[in-house]
């Protein structure tokens, strides 16, 4: 093409080392660095599988996944089911709580807010998403959990005790640190994330799409309902799934607020545990090899769940997004 022609005109003797060898070395180096990332992801899978071998051999894969006893002290029996249940329940509920508000904020920023305000809120949302989990955790421990206990859990518990004693085991002990508190904090923490991803999805909607709806005489909300949301639903769904992945892996704030109870059954307000929280709580103190290996096996389960969530999100972005009349 054109630059080939100019290339032949401007040809000048250049050292072969500078040109040919330099390019070779650079490419090799870059590929080696890229390859090491691939290896790293592979290493994570391999290391977790390898380290959890002892526990999985002892209890069997199915036995480990469905085992409900976690007793590092006396019986040395380890089953992951309570933590899998805890993780899934808190994450699903957090996503349910966070989904609509997060989308509402994104729509507000994108469609309703004046430019300057939208800009401020958007930056604020990004900033909040960057707040470290432990900082939210310390607020949760000293402010939120006691407040929830005094304003909600105690009165509810008292009411139930007086009127419907049968509800008490479902509600659990109102100490403030437990599933409800952790779920609410988890929802608060993933809202900025979901909002940012939804905002990105809405940004992709072409102007013509909106203008077509306006031209049909739609009101502002109808434009959003008919043109904006359907077009960006792939991105919104993928964002929700990624937020779910975030919630699954969220460690510190949950570990600080969930109360750390390793035994089923979990209750609404009572303490529970999740996969990351049990790893963080027990890994430092684990002495027995079987205990360490079981914690690694929980890490492996967490890895597999996160992997599935990420792959589903990638699939959804590809499949569900409508590209309107345009190809690509």
């Amino acid at each position: 093409m054109q630059h080939e022609q100019t290339g032949t005109i401007a040809e000048k003797p250049v050292s072969i080392i500078y040109r040919w060898l330099g390019d070779r070395i650079f490419l090799t180096l870059v590929v080696a660095l890229g390859l090491s990332i691939i290896l790293l992801a592979g290493a994570m899978a391999w290391v977790l599988t390898d380290e959890s071998g002892m526990a999985l051999k002892e209890f069997g894969v199915i036995g480990f996944l469905t085992g409900t006893t976690w007793d590092p002290g006396v019986q040395f029996r380890f089953g992951a089911f309570p933590f899998i249940a805890g993780t899934l329940i808190t994450s699903v509920l957090a996503l349910v709580l966070a989904f609509y508000p997060a989308i509402a904020v994104a729509i507000f920023i994108a469609e309703y807010a004046p430019r300057w305000l939208g800009h401020i809120i958007e930056n604020l949302v990004h900033l909040i998403a960057a707040v470290p989990s432990v900082v939210i955790g310390i607020w949760g421990i000293f402010v939120f959990a006691p407040w929830m206990r005094d304003t909600f859990y105690f009165p509810i518990y008292e009411w139930a005790a007086n009127h419907h004693p049968s509800l008490l085991p479902i509600l659990g002990s109102p100490i403030g640190y437990g599933m409800a508190t952790a779920t609410i904090i988890l929802a608060l923490m993933i809202i900025p994330f979901t909002t940012a991803l939804t905002r990105d999805a809405i940004r992709q909607v072409p102007k013509e799409q909106r203008e077509a709806a306006w031209a049909l005489g739609a009101t502002k909300w109808e434009v959003i309902r008919m043109a904006v949301i359907p077009y960006s639903r792939g991105g919104i769904m993928a964002g929700a799934i990624l937020s779910f992945g975030r919630a699954i892996g969220e460690t510190m704030a949950v570990a600080m607020l969930i109360g750390n109870n390793n035994n089923l059954p979990f209750s609404v307000m009572g303490p529970a545990a999740t996969m990351p929280s049990v790893i963080v709580n027990e890994f430092r103190e684990a002495v027995g090899n079987l205990h360490l290996s079981s914690l690694m096996a929980i890490g492996l389960v967490l890895f597999v769940v996160s992997l599935i969530v990420n792959l589903v999100a990638a699939y959804v972005t590809r499949k569900l997004s409508i590209t309107g009349g345009q190809s690509i």
Partner: protein
């Protein structure tokens, strides 16, 4: 068919709902940040930056305690992580953007995204198995490796998108005057994209600096300043997020107060880095 009146009422209703939920969502989040800052600043003193923590009794007897070893440890561990993560992330980013036809690229992209989506605690487990176990000791180095795992995918992604913003014509111009490919990348594309690259580093650094989970069983924590500088790298080291966690779950009132102070320092550190990163990108669009 609904009347126009009904449709307008519905329209106004949705506006109200959107306003309400935006306020509902943003208020608690702003309250959290405000609370941490106000509460934390009131507990910060000069001792906080000059003394080490020591045993719990030290704080309970009212002797001066602080987190100087934690702040230094954070800087050491985070810098180690950045030094280790930068070449890998940059290399992968260059591979994705400058050699778009390379056969490994789709795999690299998937693996990088997967790594990015993995919970940080798993990166801690990986660093534990790869560094702590063979070395036989918790160390700042292991903490650095764990945080590097957090940074790498972010830097790779940011590098890729920063380099992609540079138009192909710039590269063609370089090739046309006879530059080899590697000089084109290093001398024209990367300098042109440097704000984007720096932003990527800052954001990755900020993300990693706030992570506590991977550090719990890699750099472990330490109540004292190591005797020699090498203790920062080869011995257990304190870091702000992990110390904040330990202080918050400790049973001592004095340590809780110090936890708030640690919280505000960490928050300002992380948000400052993050803000700097965002400001830089802002400028790029203006020019």
């Amino acid at each position: 068919m609904k009347t126009l009146r009904q449709r307008n009422i519905r329209d106004n209703l949705m506006v109200g709902l959107l306003y309400a939920s935006t306020i509902l969502v943003l208020t608690p989040l702003v309250i959290i940040i405000g609370y941490v800052i106000v509460n934390g600043i009131s507990t910060i003193s000069i001792d906080f930056f000059t003394q080490e923590l020591g045993s719990p009794s030290r704080a309970m007897q009212g002797r001066p305690t602080g987190l100087v070893h934690t702040i230094l440890g954070t800087l050491v561990v985070d810098s180690l992580a950045l030094i280790m993560a930068a070449p890998l992330g940059l290399g992968a980013g260059i591979m994705l953007s400058e050699y778009p036809d390379h056969k490994l690229n789709p795999l690299l992209r998937v693996m990088n995204d997967t790594l990015n989506g993995m919970p940080a605690i798993l990166k801690g487990l990986l660093a534990f198995a790869l560094v702590v176990k063979p070395m036989g000791a918790f160390s700042g180095l292991a903490g650095g490796v764990a945080l590097a795992f957090v940074m790498i995918p972010i830097i790779a992604r940011a590098t890729e998108s920063a380099l992609m913003t540079i138009p192909w014509s710039i590269r063609e111009a370089g090739l046309a005057i006879g530059l080899p490919r590697w000089r084109v990348v290093l001398s024209t594309v990367m300098p042109a994209a440097r704000t984007g690259l720096v932003t990527g580093f800052l954001i990755a650094f900020a993300r990693a600096a706030g992570e506590a989970a991977p550090l719990m069983f890699t750099s472990f924590g330490n109540n004292y300043l190591p005797n020699r500088w090498s203790g920062m790298i080869f011995g257990p080291v304190d870091t702000l997020p992990q110390r904040l966690y330990s202080l918050a779950i400790s049973p001592y009132k004095e340590w809780h107060a110090m936890g708030w102070a640690a919280g505000v320092v960490l928050l300002v550190f992380v948000l400052g880095l993050f803000f700097a990163g965002r400001m830089l990108t802002r400028q790029k669009f203006k020019v």
